[in-house]
Symmetry: C2
């Protein structure tokens, strides 16, 4: 459709953004040789986030050697990028003055992220390294609830009085000797620091000096309460294509600003948490965890599951007599339970995502419940007919085919209802639907699957 | 820890960012009454993204009436926010001149997103509405592969020659009568349009007019190949806290720029796709789909699952004789299979996420495989001992307890290996591990679970 079709590109590969394998081997070798100079030379061109990734991936013994060799180079950027799960360990191994220097370089929101999970003594030690203004900013953030906008914001905001002109704002920026590293807007405030609007730097640069700032504010302007949940903040950034959002306290006064890169990180974490929770893997799970940590994280889910599996088995136990009379029942019963589990998981996942993305709300839940129930019934009929036919051909019994078909319809309908009602109920109760729903739903589909199939068979066939 | 603890906030609730229920009811009423004036008045204060959400949620019949009443107000912002699944339907119902006007307002990347899935005649109709420059930009983007950086970029970039001073750049911005709506950097280019670095607008504003642009460029600068996959681009934005990234062709020449809001949208979609694929729900699945669409989307996964369930059942069929002799086997066998399925899903999910976030790569896959195998063995031992004990107490048979314990160890170890090896293999073959892995893994855990338990019981007990 165009004459400028580019040829395929040979440079792109999956690992484009990854440190090369050879480089990692050389880093390992430098650590093993205790060669600090070589290590510095290898890491010098790398981004702090990539150095943090390398630190995360080292086996613990090598990590300790690495931190001794490289401690002088660990700065605020690297420290703020290291995963929570090993950060305490890293900090403990660094000389206090290195940590203090790194913390002084960090934005207030990164310091908050660093210290919020620390014990009080460790936290005080970090805070002591900051100057009074920065310490006050961090303490103000820490006073807001965990996972709130107040914890996510940085307190450094560039503001201007509402009556300023473009020229006055430009002169102010020129004269100011301290400005945040990243800022995209100037926030207009009234004398009581209520934010009134914002002006993008692009608009500021393109406008005549006599223009009033209030005449070139953006339509997209909206503030965020410091008490808003960070997940809701991330949603707002994504929904409204925000780049930064001023944060206000209960009196609507400006207390900080959230920028899109932090909102993007929250969105990423929220998704990750949902996926891992739906699969029954602990939130903190990462590929850098040790065998013992990993095994321990997975035990709670498996322990819950073994209880529900035993409960489902005891339902089967009620029908031992029937199975003894007709062994085909034992052969077929897992099919009904398994299909129910899968259909329930499908509905459940759509429901959990709907709740997370605010697509599933009070005003359409009844419609979605009805839709899911009809879908369950419909797919139950399709697969009931299919498995009934297979069963008839396999075991030559029309009755057995009818029983498994009927059980399939019942179980897929119940699976759909459980898949939508369980997460809605948990959400209403204030629990995270991604965390607890899968267990509830598969318990329902196992119990109903076995009970419907074996019960119908007992009544109709024996 | 501070004396300024804020009191809990009463204004925040879950629905902070949602159109209120009453408002939605009034919109429904206005549609039913055919009252275009009221509808306009109700929607006037709303953001285009929220209006798009409302359009998505209307039942199809009401949506048609809505589009008739409101067609004059549908602009580029609303149109680009409407979900892909209903956008074609919406466009078909709008007068061609409304669509043409909306498209003219859109950035080139949004037009690309709009037309890339259209048939050729529809696409040509949209492109005809654009002026020549915009049309050329859209066609240039469309020449790059689907899901590439070239499709994601906008072609409107603010550039400056490398030898310019801050004063020259500021004068240029002042004199330019067209500038992109959102831009955060000025990209420095050489005479052949190779990007050399970028300057943030904040830095530009804060610097003296005589300063050379090349002296105030950002360290974070990196370009993206137009052929790079959009998922990799989103990863780079998140990893390196980028705000915008210049896009280059094969000759390293600047062809466009990607901004973080588009990267955030890609990250969001990629995650959503992973979650839905892991649960066997079609990619396009949304809460606005009809019953028939939903049922159809879920059929392929359920159809695959019924085949694997029948395969697992036929493994049980091999041991009908054993079950007839000892019915307790039928009662217990789903426990082994179910635990294997859960353990496999845990490993699988961690592996799929590790691949997506580039935490699992060639250089650590052997270590992760070993870790997962040991974790599987360890948890197999823990839960094998537990279920062995329960079985002994339940059925009074030491032999049966030993068999189920041993089968559990075998199945949880195999589950761990399947959970990591299946996604790694699929990834190597170029398939999406999130899409196909769950079926493979649960088939393995069902078959191995039944075979190990019933086989061991047949050999050891009967």
């Amino acid at each position: 459709m165009t004459d400028q079709t580019p040829a395929p590109d040979n440079h792109t590969d999956d690992d484009e953004f990854l440190p090369r394998r050879e480089l990692l081997d050389r880093i390992d070798a430098a650590i093993d040789a205790g060669d600090a100079g070589l290590l510095n030379a290898l890491l010098e061109p790398m981004h702090g986030a990539d150095i943090a990734d390398i630190i995360e991936r080292l086996v613990p013994a090598r990590r300790r050697v690495f931190l001794t060799l490289y401690s002088g180079e660990i700065d605020g950027e690297i420290l703020s990028e290291i995963a929570d799960s090993i950060r305490d360990e890293v900090i403990d191994q660094l000389p206090p003055e290195v940590v203090a220097e790194a913390v002084r370089e960090m934005d207030s929101d990164d310091v908050v992220d660093l210290v919020e999970d620390m014990d009080e003594p460790d936290r005080q030690e970090i805070l002591a390294a900051l100057d009074a203004t920065d310490r006050a900013a961090v303490q103000q953030s820490l006073a807001y609830p965990e996972y709130s906008a107040g914890r996510l914001m940085q307190s450094e905001v560039v503001t201007a009085p509402e009556h300023w002109t473009v020229g006055e704002a430009v002169a102010f920026l020129q004269s100011e000797d301290w400005l945040p590293e990243q800022f995209y807007h100037i926030v207009l405030v009234d004398p009581r620091r209520h934010p009134l609007g914002y002006v993008t730097l692009g608009r500021l640069l393109a406008s005549a000096h006599a223009t009033l700032l209030r005449d070139i504010t953006e339509d997209s302007f909206r503030t965020v309460s410091a008490f808003a949940e960070e997940a809701d903040v991330a949603y707002a950034f994504n929904q409204y294509h925000l780049i930064s959002a001023p944060v206000v306290d209960r009196d609507d006064r400006l207390v900080g600003i959230i920028t899109i890169d932090d909102a993007m990180a929250v969105l990423d974490e929220e998704h990750e948490e949902d996926i891992l929770r739906l699969a029954g893997v602990g939130d903190e799970s990462s590929l850098t965890d040790s065998v013992m940590q990993t095994a321990r994280q997975r035990v709670p889910w498996l322990a819950t599951n073994i209880l529900t599996a035993v409960a489902a088995a005891s339902v089967i136990g009620l029908f031992e007599g029937s199975i003894a009379q007709l062994v085909a029942l034992a052969v077929l019963m897992p099919i009904v339970a398994s299909m129910g589990g899968n259909a329930g998981t499908q509905t459940l996942t759509v429901a959990v995502r709907g709740l997370a993305t605010k697509g599933l709300t009070k005003d359409n839940s009844v419609r979605v419940i009805r839709r899911e129930a009809v879908v369950g019934l419909l797919n139950g009929a399709i697969f009931g007919l299919a498995i009934g036919t297979v069963t008839y051909l396999w075991f030559g019994s029309f009755g057995l085919g009818a029983v498994i078909g009927l059980a399939m319809i019942i179980n897929l309908t119940i699976a759909a209802l459980a898949g939508i009602l369980v997460p809605l109920t948990l959400n209403k109760l204030g629990a995270d639907p991604a965390l607890a729903s899968p267990t509830f739903v598969t318990t329902v589909t196992d119990v109903v699957g076995f009970f419907a199939f074996l019960g119908l068979a007992t009544v109709m066939l024996l």
